[in-house]
Subunit: 605 residues, 2 copies
Amino acid sequence: MRARTPSGVELASGRIPERIVPPAPPPRDDSLESLPVWGFRDTAFQVLPNRSVVLTGGRYPLCGAELPDLVPWMETQIGIAIDPRDVHEPSYPPALPEARSNPAFLEEVRKFLPDGALSSDPEIRLRHGHGHTQEEMYAIKYGMLPRIPDLVVYPAREEDVEALVEAALRHGVCLVPYGGGTNVTDALRCREGEERTIVSVDLGRLNRILWIDTANQMACIEAGAVGRDIAEGLARYGFTVGHEPDSIEFSTLGGWIATHASGMKKNRYGNIEELVLDAHVVTARGTLSRSTAPPRESVGLDARRWIFGSEGTLGIVTRAVVKIFPLPELQRYDAVLFPDFERGVAFLYDLTREGPVPASARLMDNLQFQLGQTLKPRTAGLAALKSRLEKLYVTRLRGFEVDRMTACTLVYEGSHAEVAAQEAVAKRLARRHGGLRAGASNGERGYQLTFGIAYIRDFVMKHWILGESFETSVPWSQAIALCENVKRRVREEHRRRGLPGNPFITCRVTQVYPTGVCIYFYFAIWYKGVEHPSEVYAELERAARDEILRSGGSLSHHHGVGKLRERFLPRVVSPGTLAWRDALKEAADPRDVFGIGNQRTDTRA
Amino acid sequence: MRARTPSGVELASGRIPERIVPPAPPPRDDSLESLPVWGFRDTAFQVLPNRSVVLTGGRYPLCGAELPDLVPWMETQIGIAIDPRDVHEPSYPPALPEARSNPAFLEEVRKFLPDGALSSDPEIRLRHGHGHTQEEMYAIKYGMLPRIPDLVVYPAREEDVEALVEAALRHGVCLVPYGGGTNVTDALRCREGEERTIVSVDLGRLNRILWIDTANQMACIEAGAVGRDIAEGLARYGFTVGHEPDSIEFSTLGGWIATHASGMKKNRYGNIEELVLDAHVVTARGTLSRSTAPPRESVGLDARRWIFGSEGTLGIVTRAVVKIFPLPELQRYDAVLFPDFERGVAFLYDLTREGPVPASARLMDNLQFQLGQTLKPRTAGLAALKSRLEKLYVTRLRGFEVDRMTACTLVYEGSHAEVAAQEAVAKRLARRHGGLRAGASNGERGYQLTFGIAYIRDFVMKHWILGESFETSVPWSQAIALCENVKRRVREEHRRRGLPGNPFITCRVTQVYPTGVCIYFYFAIWYKGVEHPSEVYAELERAARDEILRSGGSLSHHHGVGKLRERFLPRVVSPGTLAWRDALKEAADPRDVFGIGNQRTDTRA
């Protein structure tokens, strides 16, 4: 659908259309989502008796196809025979800690929240006490979480959030904002030492698009709206907010702000901090809000900027005004094969210099390229996969090596002219760097896999493989060395511990900037027979982060800090920065109402 | 000069050039600048006996040319006969308050600062106690400033700044960071109630480009470096930071960050918050710094973001890492005439929708268009000017009305292809909106005038005209109404007070965004015979701001708040925002070392 945007002629004549107020959406159906694993309830990878893998349901292009190559390929990579019948059965739900009640708080809250807006259901409480780190997912399936929220509330109005904060202040309660629960930083994990009643504030009922201003291309959206619903709600009127994190199906606008999120198409639309024009935030010192949302301002100390990256520690975002864009005239996928990762990086580098840069550009390393090939529905086995790759035009005629070649997937987006310009540059630069274009369908498939691949982690966990992703950002000149260093380090640490099989480690460049890139790693280990596998994995992940920091990388490009990476903060910022930050948190929230305790660098539990 | 940037091939091969460390620049020669008026000492407007005006010196294209039309045209506009011999002679320097000394502080500071790094010269102290608001400029010429800094210090190293802050904390001194002194918000004006010794920290000796990283396109620059020196220093290596505020000749990198500045070419390079990758800030709780400057991060509460717009109240920026860009292959000016302002706005609106948007696009209103015409060196008088305009092709053949037509000036910048694309869209849209292209030289002239026009205010002040600029940002749909409302309101207020002559009020659109524009007003009044003219002007300016806010405009697009607009803060942000902000300032700087007191909304003096 194309946007019905006014033209300058209408603007000059004063005939500006009114803001559109879309009908309120139906309440979000949380039952669609799985509690113990990532994603939709109807979607999961399964191994068939013939060792082929299939993704259930019908949500993704990948669904329903038999994938014979995945298991054998994984066996080769990890160096372990996988027996599909040997399943590490989850014992979900785990034993749950007793809820701590705060009767005075509850009494007050019942005055403004209806019965249906409170839940003390144990599994609901559990779900609100974790995100999707391997530690958390392993714990809910094979261990336990020693502390989870004691109560979940579902405010449907901004005033209810304000009243909740006031009640929490009065009665010594700890509040934890909850959006989509998709974080991968332990940001929702409750501290064991938290003695107060912990109340999870689920923003799922604050999910309306309040207005769409087509003339000025902005929309006001409640913080609990989920990415996929925002996309659908705006598309109905011909617009998009353009923010597409990999978690878009489940994560929320408020969560994007709190974690300082990045979207796949940021080259065209910007990252979240560039998209948000204004935000309402309920804090312990009152609500942060403004009278207007001008295009750009210099209004002194600007509280809105402080909320990005606050990860639940400063307040609850209730709504935001965001930029919107007419749906693009055209979207086209592309893929380019390169003989090696280095040449792919060189291609991306020149793309940022000689642009226009496509809406998205991603470069897989060789292992990830191979993984993508195993997710193709073919009837042959591993040998056939290798032979198929060797028969490819590029390997036969161009001398690409099967175990070195890489693929870059691209999304061109915009007007016909913009798409043509993006494509022309990509084509020219691909040639310069020995790349071969592999067609739109390969590019599209690469992007579609993103959402399916998210289900793999929970699938393989049952089969004794513990995996996780982590990311960083780094200047261009250090990018290739960083990838190599991290892979080497992880292999060394794995070997040093005498762990079974080989570690699986692969990376891709997922974002490009003029000054550097975002690099995204997948890392997995075989854990059968390993004692405390989750802790061992965490150790290796910390070693990888150590290596990232040594190699000039950042603590995180878009996942954030949470509790998973807080221990590294003193390595990347000065003591003054930490002191300043602690003083500001103390000032903004002296009673630590927003006590989820992310980014702590002191010795508190 | 073109940049010698590495290509991706070099990157992939590991042959990345080292960072360039440019030689240290000579100490900044402050004697080039005028103390009592804007700009360079050798540059000023003067009236000749024949009532023509001339700009002295040779710095600007305008210099040396006799401008016969300016005075007669101003007389018509203001409705007052100007007698060039009737000069309101400034009594600069005004009486100056005694310096308050703090011997213990002085003793400590002398241990690490050499003699030449301290000044108690009265005129130097005065210059460090004001910016360029009309109130301040009127006060130093015809009144006085009741409180100015007691001492000026010139640290040359970051450690000296840290030591200064420590000494200030120990001895109860108030520190005021000083960059170029170009603010127009009373941001440097000292509060009368400040009892402590006020020490101005002039960053002029922290003016080096520390390194240039050509591979990753970033540079580390000390905060006291002036815009023109940064531009020159980077151009030597083929780069630009692309930030061009109108004050670029005098303002500094640190000042840009503290005021949250905007540059003329932000469409191509971004505003200051988009250009800065990292900053070192010396605060009362230690120095904020980090180990790396990655392209983008999510690292939790991020102190760097809090410094934008802090206007000297939170700390002293000592250096920053900024993005840099290869000098553009091509730069081309353009100008388009429109029959009226409305059609010009419609053109700009469509430009943001159908782009690529040129590096800069500015639209004058009719009065400003006329002003531009009077700054042309012709030998005829006012009648000739009118007749010249009427003889223009556009007025003769196209029916443009001399007192309605407007001009839009454009800067295309980038590769040949980018410039061609920017120009093609501008051409097409100009046609759509009845515009006529007026050629590159008219466009270039429009931009060159920017720097010359800055000298007009101090020139006319001597001739009984008090003028000032102010700006706002506003969504597109409210832009035209805002311009009309402000002009009407100012005229009404002027009339209501029975002030002599007519008010002079004109505006231009100086920045475009997808969601709105920045509008820049010039406003002047004839003040001969007016009691307390500076206060009267300030009243009218506040009325204009009131009207801006009523019309949906922001408190400021890029000038900032300072003390000039702090009274309006409670109208644009919620009480919670103010409480939050005050708590954070208190936490970050409990002893108010950075006590210049901008953005105060409480009742302190």
